[in-house]
Amino acid sequence: MAEVLLKIEGINKRFGGLQALSGVNLEIPKGAIYGLIGPNGAGKTTLFNVLTGLYMPDEGSFTFDGHDLFRAKPHKVVAAGIARTFQNIRLFSEMTALENVMVGRHIKSRAGALGAVLRDPRTRAEEAAIREKAWELLEYVGITDVADDLARNLSYGHQRRLEIARALATEPKLLALDEPAAGMNPRETDDLKHLMSKIRDGGVTILLIEHDVKLVMGLCDRIAVLDYGKRIAEGVPETVRKDPKVIEAYLGVAHE
């Protein structure tokens, strides 16, 4: 297997009496599109939130590209190189599309309050660079035509793309997408697929949560399956597809 980018071991997360994740292991190789699937309530999004620092895991270990990110704050996780999108799109709705992406450059720029007030040449150059980079990213995901529209007024497909552009603005090594195809029509899903391949080919590893098994099977290099907070299968799509445990989780067990 290729070099491991993200490695988590034995991650446990409880919410009161509910064991949302129990002993989850995951190894994501560099340069892959890695799928994470499972029925509703399997703990996919919980795992995502643990990975990106929104939830604190109870036990386990979590290393990413040489950084120990166990119980790290969200901004540290981003700094280490993990960016994410949200299942129920969380854009800054009163900002324009361009400004949304500019916020994504926050971590890659430094100007503080003093720079903002003095507007010295360095700050101005940085600001121009932020704007230029944001514009490039809008171009990359193909939504420059709505650059100056408020995020809340964009179409659903555009909002999804904008969220990806914003995440890419942090120059991540791992891009984590939480059900990006949810609610998309077949054409939009197809476009998205191309976009993801393009991003992967650009050197960014992708972790994809998806409901749409067909999309995952066709796109991902490896897949992990979660059910009731446990990882029940892992491997290349062909083996996972045939795994009896996976079939059981998705279709239920036959009673004789």
Binding site: T52, G53, L54, K73, P74, H75, V78, A79, A83, R84, F86, R90, L91, F92, S93, E94, M95, E99, M102, V103, G104, R105, H106, I107, S109, A111, G112, A113, G115, A116, V117, R119, T123, E126, E127, I130, L150, R166, A167, A169, T170
Partner: protein
Amino acid sequence: MTNSTLRGKLGIYLVSAFLLAAQPFLVGGFLGNSWVRIIDFALLYIMLALGLNIVVGFAGLLDMGYIAFYAVGAYTYGLLSSPQFGLHLPFYITIPLGAVCAACFGLLLGTPVLRLKGDYLAIVTLGFGEIIRIFMNNLNQPVNITNGPQGVNLIDPIHLGGLTLGKTMEIGSLSLPVVYLHYYLFLALSVLVVILATRLQRSRIGRAWVALREDDIAAAAMGINIRNIKLLAFALGALSGGIAGGLFASFQGFISPESFGLMESIMILAMVVLGGMGHIPGVVLGAVVLTIAPEILRDTIGPMQMSTFGRMIVDPENARQLLFGLALVVMMLVRPAGMWPSKRRALEFSDAKAKARAQKG
């Protein structure tokens, strides 16, 4: 930009600069110096409202105890330049020091409320504002620091060498009363605060504040350090309040805890909300209108009743409060986004209205 619009803009700037410079003479000449004094206060409130606007308008943190920072600035100046301790430090030390102290208090308030939002944040900050006031009220024993409810008296006016803002200045045949001198000082500082606030808004920091206001979880996921950016908003907001406080102390020559009550906090918040939250020109307008309107009412209600009814029916002070409250309610109904909202917010409110209508119909 074409040449003619550029010239037009330049013209507008020149005319407004001239009007602002001539204002005390115009107002003082026609209406009397008491009105110049009111305008001086309007300028102080502009600084306060712009400071609060950083916290409430930009970062979306509802702060109901903002007046505490005004108090900290005022007491820093008052205690260090008055007979209270026999200290008479110059203004160029006391005003910056007051601003820094206020910023520290901003951090002091910001730290424990990092996890709070909305209503809860409002209640805690409200409590903070009251705590500061009560401290000022009671720090006269066992050691007398603030002189308690009697307040600090005989505070030095701003002076440098032989120049003082504390008495009428004669320049040739031109005589500039105290309120005129303070007008120019306050105007200069207000312009400075406007510039600082505008620059902050259009920067990486300003964007981070708006992101925080719009969606703090997404902001964190973009690598924004939520704790630091919140504390920065509290500190910078407080800074402006502290400067205004120091100016207030020097201008009045007297401060007491009474000036820093909850009503003042609410008033400043009303300036921000009524003017147009997050929109600097709107906030400035809000501060000016809410300072001057009550004074106009004070001057007109009594005589109006006398001329129409021949006697006083409602006590002018009560009628003033009543009308003022009514005006606020009407404003919020008619223009919920404020008197002069940013184009964006105006759009947002009209969108919401259209949506509501569509759902009804």
